[in-house]
Structures are given as C-alpha cells and as structure tokens.
Symmetry: C2
Subunit: 202 residues, 2 copies
C-alpha cells in the first residue's frame, strides 16, 4: 500500500528518510492533542498517536513517560496558540481577551468536556493528577502570574498583589462554572471577573 | 441482641414505638451525611444508612428518589452547621469567617476528598450532576448571593455588583485549589480572596 500513499501525506515521509527530531516531536504532539480533543482520555492510546504521526511507539516512549504525559503535552501544544497570552501593555484588555478565548475554547469546542474529564480522573488517579499539574496547570498558571507581574512593573496594579490568588479568581472561577454549571460560562462572565477585581466591590 | 442495645442508643427507640417523622428524617440525614464523610460515595449504600438510622429502606425510598439525593441531603445536613453563614452586619468579616470555615472543612476533614470525588463523578454521571446541583451547589450558591445582596442593601457593596460572579471568585476559587492543588488552600488564601475583591487590584 505504500506506493498508494497520497501526496498530501508526503510531509510525513514515511520510509523516505528521517525527519528532523524536532519535526517528529511536533507531529507527535499535534496528533496527540487532536486525538485527545476528538476522543477524550477514554479513546486515547499511544498506538493511535503513533499511527497518526507516522512515528514508532518506541520513539514516543523515549520522549514521554506515560500516556497521560503525552496527552497533556499534546493538549498544550494544540490549544496553546488559542490560549496565547497577549501583551499589549494594557492588563485589563489582555486579561479580558485571554479569558474570553479560554471561555470560547471550553464552551465552543470539545476541550471543555475533555478538560473536565481530565480533572475528574485526576481526583482518583494520582499519576494523572501529577502529570496534569506538571504538564498543564502549573505552566499555564505561571503564564498568568507573569502577565500580572508585568502589569505590576508597569504600575497598572498594586505592587503588593498576590498574583497566584488572582489566577484562582479568574481562570479558577471559570473552571468552577465548567465543572459545576449552575451559572453559564460566557464572555460577559469573563469580563465581569476582570471588572470585579479591577474596580473592587465597594 | 436487641436486649443488649446500650442505653446511649435509646433515642433511636428501635421497635419501641414510632418516632415523629421529622425526627426519623433528621436521623436518616445525619446517618447519611456521616456515612458519606466516612466512606465516600464508593462505600455509601441505602442499606447502611437504613441500618444506622434504624429506619426501613422503604421509608428512605419514600423520601429520597436516589442514593445520590440521600447522600447530598445528608452532606448538607451534617456540614450545614459548620458552614453556617454569619450575619454580623460586616460583610468582610462574614465572608472571611465563612470562607475560613469552608477551607478548614475541606482541608482538615474528609469532606475535601468526598466533595472532590463527588464533583469528579458528576462529570461522567449526569444524574449525580443534577442531584449535586439541585441539593447542594445551587442552595449553597443562593446563601452566598443572599449575604452579598444584604451587604448591598446596607451600602457596604456597590449596588451594581454581579453577586453570582462573586460566588465564583470566592468559593469557586477555593474549589479550584481543592481540585487542582497547584497552590495551597489556606486561611491566608481565603482572606486574600476577600481582600482582592474588596480593595480591587489597582
């Protein structure tokens, strides 16, 4: 069947010589992220990722210690661009646009269901919990803290703010509505979260 | 063995005549809440609650449509007093003391593990999700909104605040650290959440 491989698969160059390691790695991550978004952890296997990326399982095991680690790195790779943190110099605009993108990702795509099930499984699976934190939530949290810290340096926020707690009051508040949907997760909600913190409630 | 029932079990009056329905209901709820806290949903059965409360399974099924409904009502009954919402007239003090009690319940008792596993199971079990919201999270959310609304009426908060979003930025932020423990869930955190919102970040 090899000779029937259509041209659009040519970039994978199966059996036509080695791809650079960086390219293989990127293609594995893309395949992993897309598979996770399509099927959730329930349908996620290293075999499927290997087949999709045209890579060997051995290559994948060389770089990722577990299925969960591969899934989380893939998720980060695929949604990363959607969740890019703008830095226009205006912290209110940047927080609002980032949170709005996050809300749309959670509500308009399969990412919301995938993430809620990952968090759910992490409550009973310590290995997945460790991987989720190490590969996704800790780095994402750091990006938020850095943005807030830059805003402090620019004089837009008080110098004594606790940036970690602000992350919980913005993205954490959205996760709360994602996991316990008593109230809707909307653009308006995202904007209100920022406004509450900026203006204060008094 | 009935004649060996020690005196301290006398209030249950097994077989010694009917208890008032309200009392039976209260004892079932206490038994259900304590069983849930001791064993989680995994070890929670209507049989055990019935035995513990000295009530028939038929009585329980008459009042509760499902095991999940009984577990959630029992949880609310048992932790309700711990989570009582003070109304001293000072919203900052009241929010801080209520959140502090909530944080201690989640971190010092088995309630944290039980609640995180209930939320986890709710992600894959729509019936449990409905019961969790109907019997626990919606009524608890309403209590928070009422406290904030009273503070608006007293002039302690702006009249145009969105109280629902504040619930997500206080209790929701705590649930975020409970479920994704990248940062510790502490008294200091609870106080910081209130302070961030009251003073604003600018």
């Amino acid at each position: 069947m090899a000779q029937l491989t259509p041209d659009y698969e040519a970039p994978r160059r199966r059996g036509r010589g080695r791809r650079p390691a960086d390219q293989v790695r990127a293609e594995i991550l893309t395949a992993a992220g897309n598979l996770l978004l399509a099927e959730g952890m329930a349908g996620f296997t290293i075999e499927k990722v290997a087949a999709q990326a045209g890579a060997s399982r051995m290559t994948i095991y060389k770089w990722w210690p577990s299925k969960g680690a591969l899934a989380l790195d893939g998720y980060f790779a695929v949604v990363g661009p959607v969740l890019a943190f703008p830095d226009t110099g205006d912290i209110v605009a940047d927080l609002t646009s980032q949170l709005t993108a996050f809300v749309h990702l959670m509500t308009d795509t399969s990412a919301g269901r995938v993430v809620s099930q990952l968090i759910a499984q992490a409550q009973i699976d310590p290995d997945l919990a460790a991987v989720y934190r190490e590969r996704y939530s800790v780095p994402r949290r750091a990006i938020g803290v850095e943005a807030l810290t830059r805003a402090v340096a620019r004089g837009q926020l008080r110098p004594d703010i606790d940036a970690e707690s602000v992350v919980d009051q913005l993205w954490g508040a959205c996760y709360h509505r994602l996991l316990i949907p008593d109230q809707p997760l909307t653009e308006e909600f995202a904007a209100t979260l920022v406004d509450n913190l900026m203006r204060g409630l008094r």
